[in-house]
Amino acid sequence: MDLRGGNYKARRGFLIPVILVVLSILVVLGFTLHQMSQHQLKQVSHAARREVLYHWASSGLDLTLDALKKTADFLNDTDSSTRPKRLKAAEGIQPFLDLFLDPQGDFEISEEKLEWIPPVPIKDAYSESAPSVKVQIELRGIRPVYAGLSGPGLKLDESECRFWIHIRSEASDLLSKISVSGFSVSMLVQIQPSILGKFVLLLRTKGGLNLNSITDSTELTNLNAYPVSVFSGDSIPPDNSMTMTSAAELLDSRGWIFLGGADPWNFRLGNGGGEDSFASGMIPGAIFHSSIPPDEPLHTEPELSYVWSLRGVFPELGSSNQFSKSFDRVPASQLKHSTTLNLQGTQAQPSPTLVLGSTLLNYALLQGIHNENTGKTFYLPWLTEPEFMGTDWPAGGAVALVQYLKGNYLNNYSNYKRRMSGIEVQEINERNLSLVDLGSSKSVVDPATISPVSIKDAESVRLSAAGFPVHFFEKIHSTTHKVANDRGEVMWEGSNLGSLSDLQFLSARARMIFPDGPTFINSMESTGGVLKFPGGILWVRSDLELNRELLVEPGKGGILIVDSGIKIKNSIQTSGGEPLSLVSLGEGIRVQTAQELQCGLIALQGAMSLPPAFTIRGMLAARELELRSGSGSGNREIYYNDRFDPTDSTNYKNHFRLLVSGPWHRFVE
């Protein structure tokens, strides 16, 4: 037997190779499977670790956003107890102040970077393995709000800007790290309506407004309507108690009035139906006395003295014996109707102000002779020269009395004329002299008699016209005005304020734009049907009807710009006088409610239509004013809110708003 035969050789030991091959395959498969499963486990572990890190980084971002919101709320809070900001800021927001404030505590936006570690316990006994979280906040991409915008006269504030806030929150442990970033466009804007905020009332033209439309009387029931009373600040009596300097400072700090157009605005002061709350203000209520001068024969009668007083105009001046029918010969048309606008408040609340624009006041000057023994006063009637020369004087004066009086004036009309009653005309700003102690008790001071030294003290720091300083008792109807703040920083220069009609620059401040009114209304938070204004500058690109109550909370003031018309049918309430301005860029504003509106109303290209009764606490600026008549009557009052005043530099600074509003775009790095 040949054991080395071919067949045997081919078959010997084949089992071992087979086993080795199978084993090799199994080992390869096993290792592959093992590697894959280990890899899978590693991947899942890695993903789990990253998930944990993601949530911690995300927490860091959420905590930073909360701190930023709290910082913005605090910096926007105008409550005086929160100032100075750097000292009064709570511990939690202290690190963020450097991002937005200069060393003096005023807003200043510059490219800043802040590293912050959220001051909350990330690690605790429960999760000692928690990662560390650090946050970087960066301001970048700062650009002015008004880039490319300019307007005649208006000085735009370059500190108003848009900028990016970029937040990067990084969570890391020994093996890995993950970052969650968020960014949003933010703004620093002014919520005062620029130079317009200085005016309690600004009317570019008279339009169709009847300046003297109130059928006045000594009886309130005879009034056809109440006049619109404008209050420029706190009530100040015209009691000749101030110095020139303090009066100038006072008038600089109050809301001013602008009445545009070339023709004078000619008002007849009103008697308000005998009610102080409707009669025109800044008229001394007192009756003045003076002795009869020696050159007049009546001087020898010691019981006689001259008396005079200022009043609004009303028909009874010519018909009532109470006034000796002294205005009987004055044309009735000059007595029947009195002013529609009490520009200087009322007798009950006199409100001195500076009026820009040619504005004349017509008032009744009652002059007469008082008999101390009888307590009676005979008012010397307004007469023409022929009437004076005759004996048929009003009030049925006996011929003997007429002759007696004429004798006192030596039968000379000129002598009588300066003592007779009549309608006097005065530039409105001259009434401001009744605030000042000029060493005499004259009710009407002729500015020509004021000494140059006193005139210098009467200069306004904040207003000049045609390149010259304005004195608070002068008429101001130049075509070029310059308005500066109390630190001399110019806010308007080189143009007539009446030319300001294009308010598109305000819309450059807008942080949110709505296509129409309903979209805007629906976007607002509401409680019990009361809408809450979200704050900042908002822009509605069509018209707007406000038929629900609107509430402005502290720090949530702003400007609501509407391309077309605005209808207001319900009240607007603000907390602490927070300024809110409603601005119509188009057809105007129509108020259709008697409820109080605590806001500024601005419609420089349209009409401001006001109902038979209204109360506005803020300011009002319009191309023209329309006063609608209607059944019944009610108060018609415009009160200035001095928080609108941009010429008070502190007040102006207080109304910058840091709008850190989102939406925040997030991404994971």
Binding site: L15, I19, A48, V52, S59, A90, G92, I93, D124
Partner: protein, 143 residues
Amino acid sequence: MSTRRGLSLIEIVLGMAILATFAGPLAYLFISSNRSRVSARDMSVAMNLSNCYLSALKDLPRSSLGVLAPTLDSAVSSDFSPHHLEIPDSPERFTRELEIREIPVPEGLSKAYRMIVKVNWDRGSDRKKGEFILESILPSEPW
């Protein structure tokens, strides 16, 4: 001829020896791989369970947040229940627990809550419990 066709005893013995030598490690390799695969799957399930719960909680109105002692998700109040949040319940072998604590924050910041979602599961093979914890801190006031 027929006796020459069979396997030799040596071959069989040697083959058995080789198989016996490699069978143990190979079996361990396969079992270990399977355990890793199961672990990865369980971890993945736990991660998803905790992540979807935490994310849903973060989307709730902040006013509804409040302190909550460690509670199984099946026993939490309706606001925080998986059914209310429209997220899946825990599958068999898994339990999910929620705890919300108020944490101290410096003055001036909003109150903040620490939300802890803990998922445990029975690993079966080694009779040990698996655990995955996901945490987040959320201020009580929304942006």
